[in-house]
Subunit: 296 residues, 2 copies
């Protein structure tokens, strides 16, 4: 798509004319609240699926307009954030595509990006720009009622343009998250899915498996543990419905990561079994060096 002077103007200002959030939950609501608090949009428009949610949203000081349909919501959009669950985002992109103003920007907050970005790009191309996003800012709380204007501060946000995506559209999305307080990392959608399979989805599978094993072994033992087990299994308490979607969408990358982790665990077990204490120590020390290198 060609940039016109209008789209240029729209893309390069840090204040958006009309920020549209579709289906706000914790993340979408926090985008709206943070954008409001930081003065990043002249107008914030939202649409929620349930009528009762729309009624409540009308009372929020950080919302200027509540639309009754996604199509209505996006008609004058500068930037649309698709904040629905991962399996509903593509559908929503297809629904709004014909109603987007030329040159509008569309992003999302989904946890898996490869298939989603390709499908959304296809749905929207020619009309507007789709550039995926994934702010790494979950919480055990859900729903826009729990949204805060500080949720993204110092949190990583992936911005995931497909190859050949508009650089100015990518830069605007990156700047948007930066302005919300996030630390932006730009990678391709497939790189994103490989990285998060390892640093997010694999730890979830491990924490869940540790939890299900100990639950079967003796659930009462959890109350005898120190903080180690508490921390190691904290994310096992995450929402199952959210995670089933992530595992469905990133199955292949997670399987690859799980297989390699099985090898690593087996290596630890073999060293222990062989009483190869130098090898056990080397593993403990490598793990410590890596963990000590986390930013504070």
């Amino acid at each position: 798509m060609n940039s016109t002077s209008t789209t240029h103007w729209r893309f390069h200002r840090s204040v958006l004319e009309n920020l549209v959030i579709l289906a706000p939950g914790l993340l979408g609501g926090s985008v709206a609240r943070a954008a409001h608090a930081r003065g990043l949009a002249r107008r914030i428009t939202v649409w929620a699926r349930r009528p009762e949610a729309r009624l409540k949203l009308r009372e929020q000081p950080w919302v200027q307009h509540v639309a009754d349909t996604p199509e209505d919501a996006v008609r004058e959009a500068s930037l649309v954030v698709l904040a629905a669950p991962v399996d509903k985002i593509i559908e929503l992109a297809r629904l709004i595509a014909p109603h987007l103003p030329a040159g509008a920007l569309v992003t999302d907050v989904g946890s898996v990006k490869g298939e989603l970005c390709r499908a959304c790009h296809t749905a929207i191309a020619g009309q507007a720009h789709f550039i995926g996003s994934h702010p790494m800012a979950g919480s055990e709380k859900t729903g826009w009622e729990n949204a805060t204007d500080t949720l993204f501060e110092k949190r990583v946000c992936f911005v995931t343009p497909l190859e050949g995506a508009s650089e100015s559209a990518t830069a605007t999305i990156a700047r948007f998250w930066h302005d919300l307080g996030a630390e932006v990392t730009t990678v391709t959608p497939d790189q994103h899915d490989e990285i998060t399979a390892h640093i997010s989805h694999l730890p979830q599978a491990v924490a869940t498996s540790l939890a299900t094993f100990l639950a079967a072994k003796n659930p009462g033992w959890r109350n005898l543990s120190g903080n180690g087990l508490r921390d190691t299994t904290r994310i096992a308490a995450s929402d199952a419905t959210m995670w089933i979607e992530i595992f469905q969408q990133n199955r292949d990358e997670v399987l690859r990561a799980l297989t390699k982790l099985e090898d690593e665990l087996h290596g630890f077990k073999t060293a222990l079994s062989n009483r190869d204490w130098p090898e056990v120590r080397a593993r403990l020390e490598r793990g410590k060096a890596w963990r000590d290198g986390f930013r504070p």
Copy 2:
């Protein structure tokens, strides 16, 4: 050993005449500080291996006497706490045994209990009572300089009498930890080692293996993670020297637990591989139910 009226008097008072801590580190130092703060001993005696540590300990307000040898330290002991690293405790028990007053109580703070309790009991029996302890109150900090008088508050402390151990000695040790603020659980040394293999040593092996895998895969990715990976791998940063001793001493139980965890992880992977989403969901939900059941 027969109780005399003297030992009875010594055992059943909640204020100890002479509490002796040998080789205080974080745990031993915190026992001394907490006992001092709570008025649990009329006199606190310590011995440290290094002369410079003994000099510094003389300046601490929570120490009444610093002995130059373990043998001297225990001559008038009511309760001796062996706070040395796990692989030095048995040696220390053998060293002090001939110098203990009749009916004295001896305990320790080691993380593995089976072999240790049997060896310490053998070393000390006939002279005094050995009843093992394991307060689940570690920290990434080490050394008595980091000790606090609140370290044991609301933390689990295992008390691990061998079968046939004196009930009054066991009750006194249990009361001592209770008075330091801990929540006491009494189990046999072998039960202790099975439980901690699962709730403490297994999570360490898992966190270490996740860490070493991700370190080899791409160490830079750690800076892109959210709090999930941060928590799941926190204990990978633990002290390697402490852990090598624990794995050496509890090798068989840890191997058993690791093998079962491998089965559990493999079950998760199989469900994912087969796109058996009801099974993946069931695992996520079982893990969540278990984790939600932790006491606050």
